[in-house]
């Protein structure tokens, strides 16, 4: 397998396109699952529903509640998709990464934490109880998934001996990391759902708080938040492929296609998981995160460290 290299400057433009394509695919798949649960036939309109919903939100009026902090709200709204694209910059597509930073893993983590601030601002800024509650629910969730998430990333970095994502991919030449770091992989998938406030981790936008952070956003603002959430999920799926599933390695097909296929598979798995579960209550999940996930991921890191040192 050819080693991953730094792409030309123009490859940066490819990142939002690839990520957007993945995100659209994921959203369509979610609509298909919805339609099947509803007992409707899966038609072209169902598959294109994310696109038509985008059109609908583009023409919808933006609104603002009185005495809202529009500067903070709009900043937060814009930051969500921006953070997703920035995080995906370090993901290698086949053997080209738009920006193969020497600290790619830390960069990914930092950009994904930007969502904390973004959602908080988007919720707080609307001057609505629902938004406020949604905002700090997400922070509670962040504090419970972030440490296991970091330990999973650290485990991968330890296994590869580098924080550079391309080195991680190269280190999986013989054996995919998912094989000997299953706990880290599971923790990463859990946090992938959590960081994109999707599926069982959608307390920040739950129906029990009338949409939470989303409650008062309409029109373009809402579109950016929803699109950003799908982009984040797609970015996390693509990163999971680079970190655990051998990146673009695979027979016959070109490496970039393998990356896309594997990312789509991981994304599909995540979307299916989120359709099968009820929302995890944060008062319950905090304890699981700290009492179960952190020790498990620490143990996984220890095992990997011992194997590497041996």
């Amino acid at each position: 397998m050819t080693p991953v290299g730094q792409g030309a400057v123009w490859t940066v433009l490819l990142v939002p396109i690839l990520l957007g394509g993945l995100a659209l695919g994921g959203a369509s798949f979610a609509r298909v699952l919805d339609a099947r649960a509803d007992g409707r036939r899966v038609t072209g309109a169902v598959l294109a529903a994310p696109l038509s919903a985008t059109g609908r939100l583009l023409v919808q009026q933006r609104r603002a509640v009185v005495a809202s902090d529009r500067l903070l709200a709009r900043t937060g709204v814009v930051l969500v998709p921006v953070a997703a694209v920035l995080a995906a910059l370090v993901v290698p597509w086949g053997n080209v990464a738009a920006s193969d930073l020497s600290v790619g893993i830390v960069w990914f983590n930092a950009m994904e934490v930007v969502t904390w601030a973004a959602l908080w601002m988007a919720g707080w800024g609307t001057n609505s109880v629902w938004g406020l509650v949604g905002g700090y629910r997400f922070v509670v969730q962040g504090l419970s998934y972030e440490l296991p998430h970091m330990f999973a990333l650290i485990t991968v970095a330890t296994g590869a001996g580098s924080l550079r994502v391309s080195d991680v991919v190269a280190a999986q030449d013989g054996l995919w990391f998912v094989v000997w770091m299953p706990v880290a992989f599971a923790a990463f998938l859990i946090s992938a759902l959590a960081l994109s406030f999707a599926g069982p981790f959608d307390t920040a936008t739950g129906r029990d708080v009338a949409g939470g952070v989303l409650a008062e956003h309409s029109g373009v603002d809402r579109l950016l938040l929803l699109a950003g959430r799908w982009l984040l999920l797609a970015a996390a799926a693509a990163m999971a492929v680079a970190l655990f599933l051998g990146g673009g390695s695979g027979p016959l097909l070109p490496t970039w296609l393998w990356t896309v296929l594997k990312s789509a598979a991981v994304l599909g798995l995540l979307v299916w998981l989120r359709s099968r579960t009820a929302t995890l209550r944060m008062d319950r999940f905090v304890e699981v995160g700290w009492m179960v996930l952190i020790p498990l991921t620490l143990l996984q890191a220890l095992v990997v460290a011992v194997v590497v040192l041996r």
Binding site: L33, D34, A35, A37, D38, G39, R40, A45, V46, A49, S52, A53, G55, R56, L58, V59, Q60, Q61, R62, R63, A64, V65, V66, A67, S128, V129, W130, V133, Y136, R137, P200, D202, T203, G206, R207, D208, V209, A210, G211, L214, A215, E216, H217, S218, G219, R222, S275, R276, T277, A278, T279, L280, R281, M282, D283, R284
Partner: protein
Amino acid sequence: MDLMRWSTPRVLVVPVRAGRAVRLDVERLMRERGWESAASPADADLLVVCGTPDADTGAAVDRVWNLLGSPRARADIPVRHGVAERLDRARAELGDRPGRPSGRTSGRRRPAPGDRPDDSDDDTRTDHDGDVAGLPMAERAPDRDGLTLDRLHLTLGPVLPDWPAGLVVRLAVQGDVVQTAAVEVWGEPGGRWDGPPAAAALDSLARLLSVCGAATATRRARRLRDEVLAGSADPAALNRFARRLRRSWTLRWATDGVGRLDGRHGDLTGDATQRCRRWLDVVAGSPPVPGEDRTAAVLTALPGLLEGQELATVRVVVASLDPDLESSGTGATS
């Protein structure tokens, strides 16, 4: 720009007491057409009022209607006759409207206090120092962790998705922890439920599942409910559905230990999980436990169950008790 005609609308369904038959029709048609249920006014472009609201509820619905961003349309459906036509008309109205009326892209309204469904009326606030932009400031009160923190007033209902028709709960919250709760009932009741008990159980279940964030199970419950009502339900499918939900540990997590009632409450005894199990038994075919109407008892017990809980729990408690105000004779109380 005919984007609105192309996309499916998002509907804010307003249930009204005595409007159950209309609501069931509306929800069935929405499901068949793939129209989504909105979570808040900002999310919606179609407001559907199921039944004839009383004056108070009507005023609340009008306030919510003002919060919908354009393009928007409204369908008031007082009786079961011609539901589909009314929905079609509202839908067409939505498509005909130009996207941006009067050239304003971001409407900044100045609502009176209590204009939002999440904002309480002024009379519930006792002591506030001043007000800003017409909205009173938060006040302080002791909380369960021994800190004195700001508290906000919040009114749940009457316009709230997955909420029992006619129920209004006024809360004082700190963060999302409820300090005080008061229950009111708005509107007049309709007749008793004469449909199959399994459909009633599935209807209640769908609300509980939706509040618990189990979106796919909610859709399946509504679909099965419509099939039971149409008489086309497959007992095996009902059994499968009940079995799957009994096994779901994420659902159990959301309901375990929530809203515990003691043995004096008949078939409502126990926590939300046990009440959910009883509905699942009815869905799977066992006859419902006969007993007197417990709506009044639920309304009495509700404030005590809600105080000290988080907002998420409040919604689960209410959904798991699901006071049947649509057919109950309980009058307006507060």
